[in-house]
């Protein structure tokens, strides 16, 4: 862990730079999160918040800067190692769920477990328990195309939580939902994460959604500012 990283943090990033062609997406952004903490990354469209999330999750490699996860240098890991890490330690929730349309809801939730080597029956048993917890067990045998948007997003949350990840990355998880469904999804996501001591990196541009977080980081023009630290410090 670098000296700049706050003590006890699980995932940290310092001085991240990333450009797509000549367009800079991140320009020295920094970030940190502790186990069980929910941090909202906010900012206007195109500010670089999704790129920050992708860098933190090891999906995208930054051009420069350092990312450490559990005292390991994420930036130095090979693609195969990062993929393995994402399978075992990270969970993801996207704006449109991105459930596999041809699999049933329970198979979707079981998918990351099976990718980790779990047997089909065991994986589906665990998946079903998560669907119950997220109050969507009634749609377990249905395909994503046959359920409502809110139900689909809860299934996506269940899929993210099923492998017991240590960090959940949620990119605009309520962006496609009405306010009522959005709030319910956020309640379920944050409650479940806290109960398993998982950290949640929550990218959003809605203050209402950010209100579920413990801390807020604002990204603008590729630079990050930790509002909570500013206010308290």
């Amino acid at each position: 862990m670098t000296s700049a990283a706050p003590a006890g943090s699980l995932l940290t990033a310092t001085g991240l730079h990333k450009a797509y062609g000549s367009t800079p997406a991140l320009d020295g952004a920094s970030f940190s999160i502790h186990p069980g903490e929910v941090v909202a990354v906010m900012g206007p469209s195109g500010s670089g918040k999704s790129t920050l999330l992708h860098c933190l999750a090891g999906i995208v490699t930054p051009d420069s800067g350092l990312i450490t996860y559990d005292n390991r240098n994420l930036s130095a890991m090979a693609d195969r190692e990062r993929s393995a890490l994402r399978r075992s330690d990270f969970g993801f929730v996207f704006q449109f769920g991105q459930l596999v349309p041809e699999l049933t809801c329970v198979e979707n939730v079981a998918l990351p477990l099976r990718l980790n080597g779990a047997k089909r029956k065991d994986a589906e048993r665990t998946a079903l328990s998560w669907l119950e917890r997220l109050e969507v067990d009634t749609v377990a045998a249905q395909r994503p195309g046959e359920v409502s948007g809110g139900q689909g997003q809860r299934v996506a949350v269940a899929r993210a939580l099923a492998p017991n990840p240590r960090v959940i990355f949620a990119d605009e998880p309520t962006g496609a939902l009405d306010s009522l469904n959005g709030e319910r999804v956020m309640e379920l996501l944050t409650d479940a994460a806290r109960s398993t001591n998982a950290a949640v990196v929550l990218v959003t541009h809605e203050a209402r959604v950010a209100a579920y977080s413990d801390r807020e980081v604002v990204v603008r023009d590729g630079k990050s500012r930790d509002l909570t630290l500013e206010f308290t410090g």
Partner: protein, 764 residues
């Protein structure tokens, strides 16, 4: 809004739909274009072959009913030269005018003078190149003219005319005009082969066109959903979709015409199975062009309207494929059953020179093959609903197929139809092959050189034999002389060959227990019917117009009957085998001399050296490989054409499969990126793509084998041949189909890797 207005709106979407709209239109146009080009080329082939035949006929030396016994002012002696070069066929004719009005062959303005050569452009090019060095030693006269197009069957034909002042009547034909042999109709079995080949090659093209107009369907459905949002009803969206497809099909016609003209302009550069055609010959019949121009857009509209029936387009940008309606099998079986019903009455009609009802054959074959395309979606659905367990990659593939097996089955349809047709054709080809192939037991290392000794110009046979034996690579030479035996001085009712050779050479032809000079043997078999040992007959009996034979000869009473050796067919003989002393000396001038050579093919160009030595002795001396002429020429042409066509169609279908595969991957790029985001291995997704293609194609191939075998068996029964399982044909065609699928999967992998890059999430 009327349906026409909806069509127009769809057409506008196709061209004004931005980048996505254009990509879809271009993909459709390319797919339809390839199909249209293939249709136009196929429909032009009969015309091209007819034009070739017409030119070939116009330069023929058929004597016909003319009686030209004596030289005249307008007569020409023309001799056919047996002149191949390596594996190239060279058409050679030696010309000797007998008067100032002798006819000039098409493509020439004057006859070549003695020793001079008039050559085709392709032969000139060959002679001028290092590859033609050995041929140049054979055709070493000065080239004084180039044969014009009207004197050539095709642009790449190797042909020449050589002037002569030594050619004699005995080794030539006398003509006063160039004309061909009367055209024979194709025999019923070959006609069946041609008909089936056309159906087999064209149905996959139709399937390809039908698949191409549905390229980009999923993206289009989302666009239609937006239309629904602003008030379009289901009927309107279907017609709008048809309008989009119509524009793609119309562009496809333009692309197809462009590809056709490009192929046509290059036609002159290509020689396929020794056949080349002039670009101007490749002209499809106007009626067929009109038919293609009308049928393709109409098919595009129809296919889209039918396809849209199964899609529920809802407003709010969501296309929810309704729970798939379970496919029914009963009506799908009707089509192949009806096809079979049309073909069954044709059984054994081709036996004994009978004729098939062409309409029934075409319709029955087409219905059986189209039956594959309607049965396959049901088979795929029926099988995949029963699958599910297995690794993640398998589960992903099976679940996708369960949700929407139609797209996958459509993609596999082309391969399945092509393979089914090809299997049936292969069975027909190998089943009837023996009818068109004479296995004479000869090997590549054997050659025969024939000298017609009756001609005063013919070289001394002994000298030629010595020259041939002196060639490096000629291991053995066997000399045979041949004459004939008739029961009357002018030929009579019965005729038998008499082969004269020493005992060593005779043992190559017949089984002899003992042999000495002076012995005569009779070949076992019915060829000696009408001849009785101990009776007198006439040697070298007269042909019509020739003086009667005066050579009486008694067939020795004690001449033993001996069996022919199995490989005797290599030397076309029957009848009497005699040693030299058994024959009267007076018959010697009538001998045709033949030498059978055994060659060491390890010596470079030994065959060409033999041909050159024979040609140097006299252009009219025939030197040919023993395996030449073992298989019927037209049969070989059809067989090779069919195989080349089947390979082209499979490749085209592979290309269409690739486009559809890439399109599906593009549609799913966000999902693929999301799957990679949570750690899915690339190999898992790669295997999933392979399973997704391999399952329907595997089922398609199984169905293709069943229907292809069934069709092949019926076709063989129609011709009266024995039905056998041609495992080699089945394995090769199925393997080719499977190979195309593997190739398509491999080619789509780079796109899959690219689409799995996390960049796909950037728009999330």
């Amino acid at each position: 809004m009327s349906a026409l207005d909806d069509l127009r709106l769809g057409a506008r979407f196709a061209v004004n739909g931005g980048r996505e709209g254009w990509i879809r239109t271009i993909l459709t146009a390319i797919g339809v274009g390839c199909g249209v080009a293939l249709l136009l080329v196929t429909s032009a082939i009969p015309n091209a072959l007819a034009a070739r035949d017409q030119r070939d006929n116009a330069r023929g030396e058929f004597v016909g009913e003319q009686s030209l016994d004596k030289p005249g002012r307008d007569t020409l002696l023309i001799g056919t030269v047996w002149s191949d070069y390596h594996d190239l066929s060279v058409r050679g004719r030696v010309l000797r005018p007998e008067g100032p009005g002798a006819p000039v062959p098409p493509g020439l303005s004057v006859l070549p003078k003695p020793g001079e050569l008039a050559v085709s452009p392709a032969l000139k090019e060959l002679l001028d190149s290092p590859e033609g060095d050995l041929l140049k030693k054979r055709l070493n006269g000065p080239v004084t003219a180039v044969i014009g197009d009207q004197g050539l069957a095709g642009p790449n034909e190797l042909a020449y005319y050589q002037g002569s002042d030594t050619l004699v009547r005995d080794e030539a034909s006398r003509i006063n005009r160039f004309q061909g042999f009367p055209q024979e109709g194709l025999d019923p079995i070959l006609m069946l082969l041609v008909l089936v080949a056309f159906v087999v090659l064209l149905i996959p093209v139709a399937v390809l066109i039908a698949a191409a107009v549905r390229f980009g369907g999923e993206r289009r459905d989302r666009r239609l959903a937006a239309l629904r949002l602003v008030g379009a009803d289901g009927r309107m969206t279907r017609w709008v979709a048809a309008g989009e497809a119509l524009v793609g099909a119309l562009f496809g016609l333009v692309v197809g015409a462009g590809l056709f003209f490009a192929a046509r302009s290059m036609a002159g550069l290509i020689t396929l199975e020794r056949i080349s055609v002039f670009p101007s010959d490749l002209a499809p019949a106007p009626a067929l062009v009109v038919l293609v121009c009308l049928a393709v857009p109409a098919a595009a509209v129809l296919v889209t309207l039918l396809a849209m029936r199964g899609v529920v387009v809802e407003p709010l940008g969501v296309v929810r494929t309704a729970k798939p309606v379970r496919r029914r099998v009963w009506w799908r079986v009707l089509l192949p059953v009806a096809g079979l019903a049309l073909l069954l009455p044709q059984i054994r009609r081709g036996d004994g020179g009978g004729h098939f009802d062409q309409n029934f054959v075409v319709l029955g074959t087409a219905m059986l093959l189209i039956g594959v395309t309607v049965l396959l979606p049901w088979v795929v659905e029926a099988v995949v609903t029963r699958l599910g367990k297995g690794p993640v990659s398998f589960q992903l593939a099976v679940r996708r197929l369960q949700l929407s097996s139609g797209t996958a089955a459509r993609a596999a349809n082309g391969i399945a139809v092509a393979v089914a047709g090809a299997i049936a054709l292969q069975m027909l080809l190998s089943g009837t092959g023996e009818h068109y192939t004479r296995d004479n037991g000869a090997s590549e290392s054997e050659m025969q050189v024939a000298v017609h000794a009756a001609s005063p110009a013919a070289p001394g046979a002994d000298q030629l034999r010595k020259d041939l034996a002196a060639i490096t690579g000629v291991e053995k030479t066997f000399a045979y002389a041949r004459t004939g035996l008739g029961d009357s001085p002018s030929g009579g009712e019965h005729y038998a060959d008499v082969t004269v050779a020493d005992c060593t050479a005779l043992r190559e032809l017949v089984e002899l227990t003992s042999c000495k000079d002076g012995d005569v043997f009779l070949a076992a078999g019915k060829d000696l019917k009408g001849f009785t040992p101990g009776h007198a007959y006439f040697l070298d009996p007269a042909m019509p117009g020739e003086p009667e034979s005066r050579l009486s000869w008694t067939l020795p009473a004690g001449a033993p009957t001996v069996p022919l050796k199995p490989a005797v067919g290599r030397y076309p003989v029957n009848g009497v085998f005699a040693t030299p002393s058994a024959m009267p000396a007076a018959v010697k001038p009538s001998y045709d001399h033949r030498f059978t050579l055994k060659l060491d093919l390890g010596v470079p160009n030994v065959v060409e050296h033999v041909r050159n030595t024979a040609y140097a002795a006299d252009p009219m001396v025939q030197a040919m490989g023993m395996t030449d002429g073992q298989t019927d020429h037209r049969y070989v042409q059809i067989r090779r054409g069919v195989l080349a066509g089947a390979a082209c169609v499979l490749l085209l279908i592979g290309a269409s499969l690739l486009i559809s595969q890439l399109e599906q991957l593009r549609e799913r790029r966000k999902l693929l990126a999301a799957l990679v985001a949570f750690g899915t291995k690339r190999s898992t997704l790669g295997w999933s793509v392979l399973w997704q293609t391999a399952l329907p194609v595997g089922l398609g191939l199984l169905l293709a084998v069943a229907i292809g075998y069934g069709l092949g068996a019926v076709l063989l029964l129609m011709t009266g041949f024995r039905v056998g399982v041609d495992w080699r044909a089945i394995a090769s065609m199925s393997g080719l189909g499977a190979g195309v699928v593997l190739l398509v999967s491999l080619l789509s992998m780079p796109a899959l890797w690219r689409l799995m890059r996390p960049d796909g999430l950037r728009t999330e």
